[in-house]
């Protein structure tokens, strides 16, 4: 897994198939998610990431339960989230859940943190969306300390104090999971990621690419400013959204009803308009290859590319076909092409092994 990492991220929506009107049950959807994750490993991709949602029509309210189950049935892929809510989850519980997952998966765990922009969710967990940014900063500061310090004394504004608290289990090999900070449009998240030298993941798929470019440039500039390395060495991940058939017109015809009725952007811009302003690509595998390689032109050499392939009521069979195309035709070419001209000092996608190695080097230097 040298160089870039490729994978999928799922929202976990239960949406009726608009072409048949048939909705999967929650059980169907959860089992389909597991099947998709196993397929990700089978076709040679690197990462499976699940969203976290606490209201219907979504099923993934307990991501580490899902990922733990998948960890037991896979051997190679990295299990991640997209995103874990740093605002409404207790940082102590996040630290515990991901520590256990890290041990169970043998280090195949990282975590992508996000604020969550669903207002009603906040009070369900005793929080207030108006404090989302200060909550993010405070909770993340605590999470970092829990993973890094044996004994934590901590006082903050949003949570009861901790005195002499020790996280159990301690992170695997003493190295916390790699952290990505994800944003659809919020520049502050780029600042947070840069401040700590963590990864920055631009959702990319719900907002015009021009904005993604601006956020990533800002993150890279600030990453360098805070002394974590040169701007081109900052750790960047991108979302993407594809639907493929061998013949591109077949792809458009088949995907259009799903697009038109999709929960997030359906009944809005046309498929063609959305394709022009966001990274959505509906067409042949070659079109997906060309478009994805183009991302590098505005974000630079980056580390992780995740595709959304399983939403808006697409049947499992179709999703698995998409993964066959991604693994069989698209990603092998992307791996080779993204490697071309990539400077040697641009880091590869982060893994537990690379973090253990970096920590050992740091120890030697001290």
């Amino acid at each position: 897994m040298s160089g870039m990492q490729f994978g999928v991220f799922t929202v976990g929506d239960v949406t009726p198939d608009p072409t048949t009107g048939i909705a999967p049950t929650e059980a169907d959807r959860i089992r389909a998610t597991v099947t998709i994750a196993k397929k990700v490993e089978e076709v040679g991709l690197d990462v499976f990431a699940t969203g976290e949602h606490h209201n219907p029509p979504f099923v993934p309210s307990s991501p580490t339960t899902l990922l733990g189950y998948i960890a037991a049935q896979t051997e190679r892929i990295i299990l991640s989230t997209a995103t874990t809510l740093i605002t409404t989850n207790d940082p102590v519980k996040i630290a515990e859940d991901f520590s256990v997952l890290q041990h169970l998966s043998g280090g195949r765990t990282d975590v992508m943190l996000g604020r969550g922009n669903t207002g009603p969710v906040y009070p369900w967990f005793g929080q207030d969306i108006r404090a989302a940014i200060p909550l993010t900063v405070e909770h993340y500061d605590l999470l970092r300390r829990l993973w890094r310090e044996e004994i934590v004394d901590w006082t903050g504004e949003f949570r009861t104090s901790l005195q002499g608290f020790t996280l159990a289990p301690r992170p695997l090999d003493g190295v916390p999971p790699f952290v990505w900070h994800a944003s659809i449009r919020t520049m502050e998240v780029a600042e947070l990621a840069a401040y700590y030298g963590d990864g920055f993941f631009a959702n990319h798929i719900f907002w015009p690419s021009s904005h993604t470019k601006r956020m990533v440039q800002y993150y890279r500039q600030r990453f360098e400013h805070y002394g974590h390395g040169s701007a081109h060495q900052a750790i960047v991940g991108l979302g993407g959204q594809v639907f493929m058939r061998a013949n591109s017109q077949d792809a458009v015809n088949e995907f259009r009803p799903y697009f038109d009725n999709a929960p997030v952007y359906g009944h809005g811009p046309s498929l063609e308009e959305f394709t022009a302003s966001t990274p959505l690509t509906v067409g042949s595998p070659q079109q997906v290859i060309d478009r994805t390689l183009g991302f590098r032109e505005y974000v630079g050499d980056y580390q992780r590319q995740l595709f959304l392939v399983d939403h808006a009521g697409l049947p499992l069979k179709t999703v698995l076909e998409q993964l066959d195309l991604l693994g069989g035709e698209v990603v092998p070419v992307l791996r080779k092409e993204f490697q071309r001209g990539r400077p040697a000092d641009v880091p590869a996608g982060p893994t537990h092994e690379s973090l253990v190695k970096a920590a050992a080097q740091e120890d030697r230097q001290e």
Binding site: M187, E188, E191, F206, P208, G268
Partner: protein
């Protein structure tokens, strides 16, 4: 040089709202010229942006042509905003444009408000609908607005009176523009980032270098 943005919420072709917007714009240019200030205007008609405005509201995706309109407003020194009166208020399309316009765009911006309607009896739409909305958006709303009813565009006597009202409002607005001076474009991102840097306890060391490049 004063940069103006003119918004017309007119729907039909020809539109009396668009017509009024043009006449006010011309009068403001003349009033500015009288105090030795040149001006340039960008006319933004909302009718062709209707779908883009609704897409932005429903999905958050801003089409390039709408982005261009946002940019014209954000970089202006002053705004002339004209809506037809529908059901005792501004039109839904007019309101929707300001609902999707990025926050803080109108902070400190001088705004001349105007409206058209079927009869004079709707003229309070200026003070009961437009003025509160623009005040809420932290704009500096000129004291005199312009309301034009169908009568104003018809009878000889009526149209002379309308011209006089337009000129009066334009002169007031020109004085307001001059005393407010050139406007610094608001950057909501920069404000947010300053706050974030403060939270991260890093405000002091990075204030100088924090810039956003397009």
């Amino acid at each position: 040089m004063t940069t103006l943005a003119v918004i017309s919420g007119g729907l039909r072709e020809p539109s009396s709202t668009r017509l009024l917007a043009g006449r006010i714009d011309t009068a403001v240019h003349q009033a500015l010229a009288a105090i030795d200030t040149s001006a340039t205007s960008t006319m933004i008609e909302l009718r062709p942006l209707g779908r883009a405005i609704m897409d932005a509201m429903l999905t958050g995706v801003v089409a390039p042509e709408l982005e261009e309109a946002f940019d014209a407003v954000a970089s202006a020194d002053g705004l002339i905003a004209v809506t037809p009166a529908f059901n005792a208020s501004f039109s839904g399309l007019f309101k929707s444009f300001f609902d999707v316009l990025p926050e803080q765009t109108l902070w400190d911006m001088p705004v001349l408000i105007a409206a058209t309607g079927g009869t004079e009896r709707h003229s309070l739409v200026l003070d009961h609908a437009l003025r509160p909305m623009f005040s809420y958006l932290h704009a500096i709303v000129a004291p005199a607005g312009v309301y034009a009813a169908t009568n104003d565009f018809g009878a000889q006597r009526g149209s002379a009176a309308l011209s006089e009202r337009i000129n009066t409002a334009a002169r007031d607005f020109a004085r307001l523009l001059r005393s407010c001076g050139a406007r610094t474009r608001r950057d909501a991102f920069a404000d947010e980032l300053t706050e974030m840097q403060r939270l991260l306890g890093a405000a002091s060391q990075c204030k100088d270098t924090a810039t956003i490049e397009d």
